[in-house]
Symmetry: C2
Subunit: 281 residues, 2 copies
């Protein structure tokens, strides 16, 4: 682990199941961002929603034409061996290593990299009082439809957006080129207005989050009206409750988007209680 | 070099100037495509148009907020040491290695990877008769304006486009979401019609190629009317001459785009003679 010295919070790394912290410089993940990733909270040695993460990864591999490696047991076994009360597992799958150039021979074998790190601290106040969120200037990329919704490794817009603040915000919202709000830099967005739950349509761009889908499924089961739709600044201004979802913290209420203020309301509290308690906090 | 065994055409690799063929799995180039690259033809131990490549790399670093490493001499010295009559040098610069997440501390140090490979064979017939080009279904990403024109590492659209053919085409043309032709998968596009040279406007997306700029500069100096403009299928159908540019082969005439046929015309021949002879072939 000497090479990861700068990263004190890394507990475990494996590359293709071997004890390694490096990958070939010819890996197409490095060369082109030619791969996918999943980030999973692990509780007491078990990845939360592993089946859902796996389905998304496999679907992403299918769409990119990557031969998804059958490493479910390797991942869960590695997480179990670590066994920390809380940790975060990040799994990267790339198309593999090839010669220079975009062309890829059919025989290429995918590479996978599993990193297990300490779970970030989420102060109790986040859940009780909510977090502050920025409106980013950086726009999400409008990808080819083949890439829409995937958690792929082409993440420069998120990198640039994250450079717009330091620690003064919990996350930043990204809009598309038409000004439609798409997602947070590391999260999906939900608004509540007049009893209806609304979240941006991700048909054209954005990442389809696992917790986002759980919130939608659970809300529909509860009979809560849900809209997956176009959301702009006006809808954000008029929202009564706002929350973010991601796989590391579940649901976090938003207390402010720039100078717009929100209260922690009953819908957010209900969903946090139903979906997050005893898992994420 | 054992790890690069599959890649017989690799002559030389260095990571940050050290004798290495691997990078940390925490490198942000792998994690997010957070970096840039340059691909340069090297002739008799000298990279062609090195100054222009360096200016583009430095400008890309400036725009992404990467502290561009002052490695010009390392690169030219490595190329000189190889000294092959023809080779291709690919230089990747990433933001460096950080902890999990998009956030980046100011102290992060960039990583650079230089790979020198054999130059691909470009059959004489390519220059004499022209090459066949595909119209790809895959669309280029409409990036944030901060990324437009840069040769960054988020290249999934090109990866997917390149999967649309095997060896039956020399390159494929990519359009944006509005159907405007932007560029080749690995090249820039030029059309000639009624004495005017036309190439797609790359303000919103696409890579601003070094040879593209040389063709424009030289043509303007010769008094050839040039247009950097919107080009669609209609303009391609009506073109009298078509050629592609890139830094490995310079200029290559196009004989066919799908079932549209073109002849090798006087403007293409003139530019090939002025800009490419004794350099690229």
């Amino acid at each position: 682990m000497a090479r990861l010295r700068a990263e004190d919070n890394v507990q475990f790394v494996t590359v293709n199941g071997a004890d390694s912290t490096v990958c070939s410089v010819l890996d197409r993940g490095l060369q082109f961002g030619d791969g996918l990733f999943e980030t999973m909270l692990c509780v007491s040695g078990t990845p939360v929603d592993f089946a859902e993460h796996w389905v998304r990864l496999a679907e992403g591999c299918r769409r990119l034409g990557i031969d998804c490696p059958a490493i479910q047991r390797d991942v869960t076994a590695a997480v179990a061996r670590q066994g920390a009360p809380k940790a975060v597992a990040k799994l990267i799958v790339t198309r593999g290593s090839t010669e220079r150039g975009y062309r890829c021979v059919p025989s290429v074998r995918p590479n996978w990299i599993l990193t297990i790190t300490d779970a970030p601290e989420h102060p109790l106040a986040h859940g009780n009082e909510g977090v502050a969120v920025k409106l980013c200037r950086t726009r999400v990329s409008l990808d080819d439809p083949q890439l829409a919704g995937l958690k792929h490794l082409n993440r420069l817009p998120q990198v640039l957006a994250r450079r717009e603040w330091d620690t003064e915000y919990h996350d930043g919202l990204l809009a598309d080129h038409g000004g439609r709000i798409v997602e947070g830099c590391t999260s999906n967005l939900f608004l509540v207005a007049q009893g209806t739950l609304r979240t941006p349509d991700l048909t054209a761009c954005g990442v389809r989050g696992i917790v986002r889908q759980k919130v939608l499924d659970h809300s529909i089961a509860l009979g809560i009206p849900c809209e997956v739709t176009t959301l702009g600044l006006r809808e954000i201004e008029r929202a009564e409750e706002v929350f973010l979802t991601n796989s590391v913290y579940g649901i976090v209420p938003v207390s402010a988007i720039e100078d717009m203020r929100y209260r922690l309301g009953p819908m957010t509290m209900r969903l946090m209680k139903d979906l997050c308690r005893d898992v994420y906090y």
